[in-house]
């Protein structure tokens, strides 16, 4: 089918513009003056409405009132209101007075509102009376906040009087204040309103918009809304949400239409009933609302014949939903995507057929490109790129509030980096791939969760689906889906859904795991918290499996030998920064051994908790008299592994294996190689048995047996160490260098740690806590190495898509093995950070 050309549009930004004036007073003296601007359907307070003329007068009164409070230009006014007529009055009124309006969600807790009030340094807050009692304790002692304006009461005396803060009743203000317009004649680039992102991580951050954003959304009015004269818009959202602020408040009122909004309890039937009641022509809702209407009601277009245009935003709308809607309501749902920084700028429109799954087109008039964030070059057709917006686009926000660095970081070379990834097909449709964080990286493939969700949602038994990457270990992230069934799903259903997905998706994209859930963790605006969901599912996952997988990257940078005959040493080792503590029954005097066993048992009886440290018992040599007593002790202890010293052959490993089998089959086996024979047999040692996990190089003892003086020439032992490392690596074992012998010589201990690190060991043992810091540090990947590894992996993955297996990265040739190493660096870094030991 030949696609029709888009009409072009150029946004003209006037020198002076005030959103408050443009959406209210501008209509005075026109035929729209007496039209209804807004109708609020409140489930408790019934219906209320306001004409443009009334809205203009009321907002002027509010503006004059703010001025009387000494709220000056650019001061912040927090608006924490439910959907009500007070909302447009205070929102537009604040901007008319030149203040910056700060809409916040009514769902926020007291401490969250306090955070926003402090961060924005608001001088005044407008809030609904129902919230007053809850919020007051949080607002009372803020230095900046001087005034509280309460909506829903006639007189400020009706409520509890706070200290050091003035309170007013909004209704009283709107009745008594002067209505003479004294609008602030703002330049279009001046700040107008400040919205806070929902903040899925950390604290919410403020996004400051200017008055010009009003005309910056003209392309949306043109291409997403498809406005016709005297439209009546039913909006299901809350005004405080960025996209609702635009699509329910500013854009329709700027053009003189009528908006119908709802407050209070609702169900799936409410929306269609309201559309019918108010003869609405346009309906705007989030996908969940559409799903509810389709799944829980039998309504068709006959129940709301006035409806002619439907719109959705907020999250991705499944194509199944669009098809069902088309069948029952005989029209499309036009989807748009946007963000707090740049309201809905990509959308479907009547100019081009909806291509299910695609986000639509960049609205003409906007300067949006898909760029490769590294090279800043535009990507080609069907290539993944970051959505970037020209910083001169009038729809774009001004800055992150008081976050200079964040603002600067998001801008590169004249572009704002949205952080969203997408690709463009040959006809210009944009296919949203998700946030950078959402994209699943599985076996070197980058998979968009939306693509998988789109397919899985078309299964007849699936009501909703979220696709996730489950990281089993550093090399293994697999695609999983968390599904809400239309009815309860049994195992058979789950298998069927997986098979269905596998049949309809490329092999690497198809989910390998399925979880049935009843709900998803969501932000207050209803966005699914994917990371949180992964956490929850991992918890549910077979715990044993998780522990085993985690173990592959168990921290073993430093292993501290603890002489257990002294209770204080054992006690102290609970608090030290060692990744492992080895209770050494072998390297102590014979007469100390029995005492040591008693002490260990006593300490473990008190508590077997040694923090994150791995607990290892070093038992006496195979064949020695003491071994049996050590074994008996090990049976009573909650430990992780047993270290056998002086392993010389594969036969020794087999015997050690048997011993562990008898003690506790879950324990791991660690072997110390410290004799020339052990070095000669190291290959067969590493290959033997099933439990051997760690090889420890007993370099001191080995040096003595080889008659090497380590003090005079520390390099003389290198050759033998290298052989052990080679064999250990060949059989996938962890290899640890033995402790440095001279506690007082810090320099040589540091040098020997470096030697072990550069030889490729995973860690080093220590005999004194003083040695731990340097040892931990050298085996911890450095931050810049991690950043480099991440960049390298990204570059490699991009190249892989074009079929290359080897790439050049910063003068280095990179292949799969190097990437595996890079992934290991990242995983280890994250793991060590989790442990939270003192690092630079």
């Amino acid at each position: 089918m030949k696609l029709q050309d888009y009409p072009q549009l150029e946004i003209k930004v006037p020198e002076f513009l005030n959103i408050g004036v443009s959406c209210t007073s501008k209509h005075l003296g026109t035929p729209k003056e007496d039209n209804i601007a807004m109708i609020i359907e409140d489930s408790k307070l019934c219906t209320s409405q306001i004409t443009y003329k009334e809205l203009s007068v009321q907002s002027d009164r509010f503006a004059n009132f703010l001025r009387s409070l000494d709220i000056s230009i650019r001061d912040r006014v927090l608006i924490c209101l439910k959907n009500s007529l007070a909302y447009p009055i205070s929102f537009f009124g604040a901007m008319k007075a030149g203040a910056i309006a700060v809409p916040t969600s009514t769902l926020l807790s007291g401490s969250e509102v306090k955070y926003l009030a402090t961060d924005s340094q608001a001088k005044a807050i407008v809030l609904s009376v129902s919230m007053y009692d809850n919020l007051l304790p949080y607002l009372e002692n803020l230095d900046n906040l001087q005034h509280i304006i309460i909506s829903g009461i006639q007189n400020a005396n009706e409520v509890q009087q706070p200290k050091h803060i003035n309170i007013y009743a909004l209704d009283w203000v709107l009745e008594h204040f002067d209505e003479l317009p004294k609008h602030y004649n703002s330049r279009s680039g001046e700040p107008a309103y400040l919205v806070y992102t929902s903040g899925t991580t950390g604290f919410p951050k403020g996004v400051l918009h200017s008055h010009r954003s009003l005309v910056g959304r003209e392309p949306a009015s043109e291409f997403w809304f498809d406005f016709k004269e005297n439209d009546r818009i039913m909006h299901s959202g809350k005004f405080n949400w960025t996209y609702v602020l635009g699509s329910a408040l500013m854009d329709p009122l700027y053009r003189g239409h009528t908006v119908i909004a709802h407050e209070g309890e609702n169900d799936a039937t409410s929306w269609v009933k309201l559309i019918k009641k108010h003869n609405c022509t346009i309906f705007i809702g989030v996908p969940t609302i559409y799903r509810q209407i389709l799944q829980k009601t039998d309504f068709t277009i006959k129940d709301c014949p006035s409806l002619r245009h439907c719109m959705s935003a907020g999250e991705h709308l499944s194509s199944e939903m669009v098809t069902l809607w088309q069948a029952r309501f005989e029209q499309d749902i036009y989807e748009a995507i946007g963000m707090s920084e740049f309201s809905y700028y990509i959308s479907h429109s009547k100019y081009r057929p909806i291509r299910p799954g695609s986000a639509g087109f960049v609205q003409p008039g906007h300067n949006v490109k898909l760029l490769n964030p590294q090279t800043l070059e535009e990507v080609g057709i069907e290539e993944e790129g970051m959505i970037c917006v020209g910083v001169d686009d009038p729809g774009l926000f001004l800055e992150y509030w008081n976050l200079e660095e964040d603002t600067a970081q998001a801008r590169h070379n004249g572009h704002f980096f949205t952080g969203d990834y997408a690709k463009r097909d040959k006809d210009g449709y944009i296919w949203f791939l998700g946030r950078k964080d959402d994209i699943i990286n599985t076996f070197g493939f980058r998979v968009s969760p939306h693509e998988i969700e789109r397919v899985v949602k078309t299964h007849p038994k699936v009501a909703d689906c979220v696709a996730l990457g489950m990281e089993l270990d550093a090399y293994k992230t697999i695609v999983a889906v968390a599904v809400i069934g239309k009815e309860t799903l049994n195992n058979e259903d789950e298998v069927q859904i997986l098979q269905y997905a596998q049949a309809n998706l490329a092999k690497y994209k198809a989910p390998k795991m399925i979880y049935t859930v009843t709900d998803y963790p969501k932000t207050k605006n209803g966005k699914v918290l994917r990371k949180e969901l992964v956490k929850q599912l991992l918890k549910k996952n077979d715990e044993k499996q998780v522990i085993e997988n985690k173990d592959a990257y168990r921290a073993r940078r430093s292993m501290l030998f603890v002489p257990p005959y002294n209770e204080k040493f054992i006690e102290k080792s609970r608090t030290l920064l060692a990744d492992a503590v080895i209770f050494d029954l072998e390297g102590i005097l014979e007469e100390q051994r029995e005492v040591a066993r008693v002490m260990i048992e006593k300490q473990f009886m008190q508590s077997s908790n040694f923090g994150t440290s791995e607990r290892i018992l070093r038992v006496n040599k195979l064949g020695s008299e003491d071994l049996q007593a050590d074994i008996e002790l090990a049976k009573k202890l909650d430990i992780d592994a047993i270290l056998f010293s002086c392993i010389q052959s594969a036969g020794d490993i087999m015997r050690a294996d048997e011993i562990i089998e008898a003690i506790n089959p879950k324990l791991e086996l660690m072997a110390g190689i410290e004799t020339p024979l052990g070095v000669l047999n190291v290959q067969s040692i590493c290959a033997a048995g099933t439990r051997l996990r760690v090889i420890m190089i007993g370099s001191n003892t080995l040096a003595q047996r080889l008659q090497i003086n380590l003090k005079k020439n520390s390099k003389a032992i290198f050759n033998y160490m290298a052989q052990i490392v080679l064999a250990a690596r060949a059989y996938g074992k962890i290899v640890i260098d033995g402790p440095h012998f001279d506690v007082s010589d810090e320099f040589s201990c540091e040098a020997s740690s470096k030697d072990a690190f550069y030889l490729g060991c995973d860690g080093k043992a220590a005999i004194h806590p003083i040695q731990l810091e340097y040892v931990n540090d050298i085996f911890t990947p450095k931050k810049h190495e991690v950043e480099d590894a991440k960049e390298m992996i990204e570059a490699y993955e991009r190249a892989q898509k074009s079929g290359r297996e080897v790439i050049q990265y910063k003068d280095e040739l990179i292949d799969r093995t190097r990437i595996e190493w890079a992934q290991r660096v990242i995983t280890l870094y994250d793991r060590y950070r989790e442990i939270g030991q003192k690092l630079f």
């Binding site: 810090e746 810091e773 630079f840």
Partner: protein, 388 residues
């Protein structure tokens, strides 16, 4: 009391200073010559933004000042009105408005003013007249190059005329100034001089390198430090131009930590800067100027005795006092034979920590205890800075 005993007491009290009666820090400051300039960070009042070729506005400069200058980790915050400052008028305005608003601080404030008897110099003095109360030190660039030590004399008497007790740190940045260094240092307002290595080497037509300048200028360093020692003044070392991408973490105080950081995390530039600062410390310098905040910590730790060093020195002195060998005799200490010159060095180290504001209160008391046991000339041999 027999006459002979009376006389002995009298002689003793002239001979020794009674430090034990001192309880207030201020007194000790005068006796010991006050806190040292330490690490002086050059702070441009109005900053240039090379990206878009503009200067900060007054408002932006004020905001930056409050954000960064208020909590500097340096010993001295040095506002530059000379070479590094193009917007001089605006900078002065900023200082006049903002310095009085500074919150209580634990560092000195210095202002580098323009060369003597220039128009900008006069404007700088006009500014100082208004805000000298909020400043500790004037750093005078190109000191003595045109009018000799009369420059210091004039500036000193002007300071007296406005009732100010500011001190002057002349910058020796020309061979001519080095030649008259002893005269520059003979004024009571001068307690430390700055060795301006870059201008100095330029005037000398020496080519110095960022890595090797200490060796290349060693001779002149020696000349200056010797004059300064005779006059009881301190010398402030040279500015490093090597930019270090990393900053030494605040937690690094002990040698072992610094070595670990430099070894595993630091960059070559940091290693050079640290090595230079150690050399300057070894030469007994009392401070060092830096031009980037990343240099502050690395130079600070090089200049300041670490807590364990201080403890070690205290242990030595305690052992000396215990053996009654502080003034004569010798002791064995951890495998070394130590005598009074070595005790003097230990005392110097402790006082050095004091002068760089890193001595704990109880250790200060101990230092006073040791000083009270020493005759004045011995103190002066060890510590030439104060007024005894």
């Amino acid at each position: 009391m027999p006459y002979s005993q009376k006389r002995k007491v009298k002689i003793m009290s002239a001979y020794f200073t009674d430090f034990s009666s001192l309880s207030h820090d201020d007194d000790l400051r005068i006796k010991l010559g006050g806190y040292w300039p330490g690490i002086q960070i050059y702070y441009p009042p109005i900053k240039y933004n090379p990206l878009d070729g503009t200067y900060e506005t007054q408002e932006q400069a004020k905001f930056r000042l409050q954000k960064h200058a208020y909590k500097t980790g340096a010993h001295t915050l040095l506002f530059d009105l000379e070479d590094g400052c193009r917007m001089k008028e605006m900078s002065r305005k900023l200082l006049i408005e903002e310095l009085p608003k500074f919150p209580p601080r634990d560092f000195q404030i210095a202002v580098r003013i323009n060369p003597f008897r220039t128009d900008e110099y006069d404007a700088d003095l006009a500014m100082l007249k208004q805000i000298h109360k909020y400043i500790d030190v004037i750093v005078l660039s190109k000191a003595g190059e045109v009018y000799g030590d009369a420059e210091i004399r004039d500036l000193s008497s002007w300071l007296v005329s406005i009732g100010s007790n500011l001190t002057i740190q002349p910058i020796i940045e020309h061979p001519r100034s080095l030649q008259i260094a002893d005269r520059l240092m003979s004024h009571s307002t001068v307690k430390h001089v700055v060795f301006g290595i870059h201008d100095f080497s330029k005037a000398l037509a020496y080519k110095i390198t960022p890595e090797g300048w200490i060796d290349e200028l060693q001779t002149f360093f020696n000349m200056l430090t010797m004059e300064a020692r005779i006059k009881g003044c301190g010398v402030i070392g040279g500015v490093e131009v090597l930019l270090t991408p990393n900053s030494l973490p605040d937690s690094c105080l002990e040698k072992k930590d610094i070595r670990r950081w430099l070894d595993l995390h630091g960059d070559d530039a940091s290693r050079h800067v640290y090595a230079h600062a150690k050399r300057e410390t070894a030469m007994g310098l009392t401070g060092k100027q830096v031009i980037t905040p990343n240099h502050i910590n690395i130079c600070k730790v090089a200049f300041t005795p670490s807590p364990s060093e201080v403890q070690q020195n205290i242990n030595i002195l305690k052992a000396a006092i215990e053996a009654d060998a502080l003034l004569s005799g010798a002791i064995r200490f951890e495998g070394e034979m130590l005598d009074p010159p070595m005790f003097g060095k230990s005392l110097q180290n402790i006082l050095r920590a004091y002068a760089l504001k890193s001595l704990q209160k109880e250790d200060q008391d101990f230092a006073m205890h040791v000083l009270s046991k020493m005759p004045i000339h011995t103190i002066k041999e060890n510590w030439p800075y104060g007024k005894l």
